[in-house]
């Protein structure tokens, strides 16, 4: 039994033009102390998933069906107040745009202390202070910079500060949404390593959301590949990376540039991600898929289990 189990989750957005099916029938589990990577191109619904777990979808977003079980209890059935208590204390989040995730008018240390004091209001000031200091040490920001305002930090430091904040309450699950986008390769790598170190040290479960499969491959135990709102492939790192079954996963891995690896091959038929307003009933990848057949478009696909922990959403694989 995992710490977090998402079962058959579908999410839609109400827009000017109608209902947008952002996430369709997604299921996965995150085990204690393990990390899950969700990878996919922009607009595939990965951020929506992250927000849905914390029940922070924007106003026009609704969960159409499914369950989100955290520690066995369905988060969707909790009261707002109960949910508020779970946030950060149990599940915290590292946001995509760290640049903007910190409030510009408050000092960084205050923003971290605020998280602590909200959930543990009895904590004495001194303790809060020392805990914040410890967090800064952990993520490698000098203590002298604690009193700064966010705009005085560089991008990497902000990212670290956000990580520090996410760790403040030792949550059991951290959702990291594109934790390293917009950072330089070297900084990115350092932060990823740090993240993994902390996760392992504190035995925290993680969901890492990224468009870069390399990032996910670096950090995660399990990998889920999302395409147009559907979880097209899901399994442990080794099986997904070494034997990708879904054509999209293969395309993603094939497009990955390595030094010294074999040259990539990506078929180009000029097509793009499908319209999520009114998706075809079948596989959403069909018009970019090199092996697509007519039935792919028409009939809904069911996921196929190919290994102990490996599922694929493709009728050709079956």
């Amino acid at each position: 039994m995992g710490l977090l189990a998402v079962e058959g989750l579908s999410i839609g957005y109400h827009t000017e033009k109608g209902l947008l099916h952002a996430v369709e029938d997604v299921s996965f589990t995150v085990k204690r102390g393990r990390s899950l990577g969700l990878v996919g191109e922009s607009g595939c619904g990965k951020t929506t998933l992250g927000l849905a777990i914390l029940r922070l979808l924007p106003e026009n977003g609704t969960i159409l069906k499914g369950r989100i079980l955290f520690d066995g209890a369905d988060l969707l059935e909790k009261s707002d107040e109960a949910m508020r208590r779970i946030r950060w204390k149990e599940i915290s989040m590292i946001f995509q745009a760290a640049m903007n995730a910190l409030n510009p008018v408050h000092r960084v240390k205050d923003q971290i202390a605020e998280a602590i004091l909200t959930h543990e209001p009895e904590t004495p000031r001194e303790t809060v202070r020392s805990r914040v200091e410890a967090l800064f040490d952990q993520v490698g920001i000098p203590r002298s910079r604690m009193g700064d305002f966010p705009h005085q930090y560089s991008g990497g430091m902000k990212q670290r500060a956000v990580i520090a904040m996410a760790l403040a309450l030792r949550p059991r699950l951290i959702i990291a949404d594109e934790p390293t986008t917009a950072l330089d390769v070297i900084v990115q790598d350092q932060i990823l390593r740090q993240t993994r170190r902390i996760q392992e040290a504190f035995d925290i479960s993680m969901i890492v959301i990224s468009h870069d499969i390399a990032v996910v491959a670096e950090v995660c135990h399990d990998i889920g590949v999302l395409y147009a709102g559907q979880l097209v492939e899901y399994g442990d790192r080794e099986s997904v990376l070494q034997s990708p079954m879904h054509p999209y996963s293969r395309m993603l891995l094939g497009a990955f540039l390595t030094v010294g690896g074999k040259p990539p091959r990506v078929p180009d038929n000029g097509n793009d991600s499908p319209d999520l307003m009114d998706p075809a009933p079948g596989c959403r990848f069909h018009d970019r898929c090199p092996m697509a057949e007519d039935p792919c478009r028409q009939t809904p696909v069911a996921s196929v289990t190919v290994g102990r922990t490996h599922r694929v959403l493709c009728r050709r694989v079956a």
Partner: protein
Amino acid sequence: MDSKTSPEILRLSEVTKTFRQSRSFFSGTKKIVTALNRVSFHIHKGEIFGLIGESGSGKSTAGRLIVHLDRPDSGKIYLNQKEITRLPGRAFRPLRSRVQMIFQDPYQSLNPQLSVFEAVEEPLVVHGKGKRARREDRVVEILDAVRLRPPERFFYRFPHQLSGGQRQRVAIARAMVLNPELVVADEPTSMLDASISIQIFDILLRLREDLDVTFLFISHSLAAAHYLCDRIGVIFRGHLVETGEGKAVITRPGHPYTQALMDALPRFACGEKGRRYNALLNTRRKPPAPSGCPFYPRCAKGKASLCSAHAPPFKEIEAGHQVACFLAG
């Protein structure tokens, strides 16, 4: 591609560019930031030259100088052996059809108010190339070349109706429509997903074959450069630190900074914890004297007496592979 023998199309010689940045809302004083510091390199006709560096390293500035969007503070730029550094805008305009640029962000580099046709047609209009019907034909041709098919379906679409990949294709079409000799591609795929990037790269490669165009490819990724480029230059904080054949630089990096970049490349290292960042210091050193090596504060190998006081000159460690480091080779 036999680049060594083909003639030089572009040469930068000791080019320096500084920017004034206003430090704060209240202060009138400006901070001077050096984007490029005495950078020299050249590109041969028909090759793809990769300029690699972190963001803020000055690599985009180099591109902007070449297409005359900015002027260097000192140094010279030659196009086809002709100096173009200080040409006034009017005199440079005819040359524009020969040097074009593809910008980084396809979401920003297309005017939201212009349709695809209008955007791609514009260079033709500006340079007075042909009547409308002729121009239409040319636009169809070039849209087809960047695989926007069928081209006429895209004519009256607006940028917001296109995906990122399609926009970048439109941007490429706009750059190519005048049949330029040299195209500066400034991180053309950094905003795109991996699968789309490869498609864009492939288009660039094919265009080179078909149209005999030279590319200056600017990127932060050594892997992408490795995939595309014939030659590579690595730039650190405005200083060119290493140039050479793509393969040579990637496989035998001479400069500690290049080595660090190589280390940073993700490689699906499942559980592997090999030698990493040996070239980098964990903490920072004090900055060197202005004349010193710019990489010295972060360099694990740096020697206080030597590196902090003197700028390392370029040193050829193998044929066509130069490194600006005392300790290289």
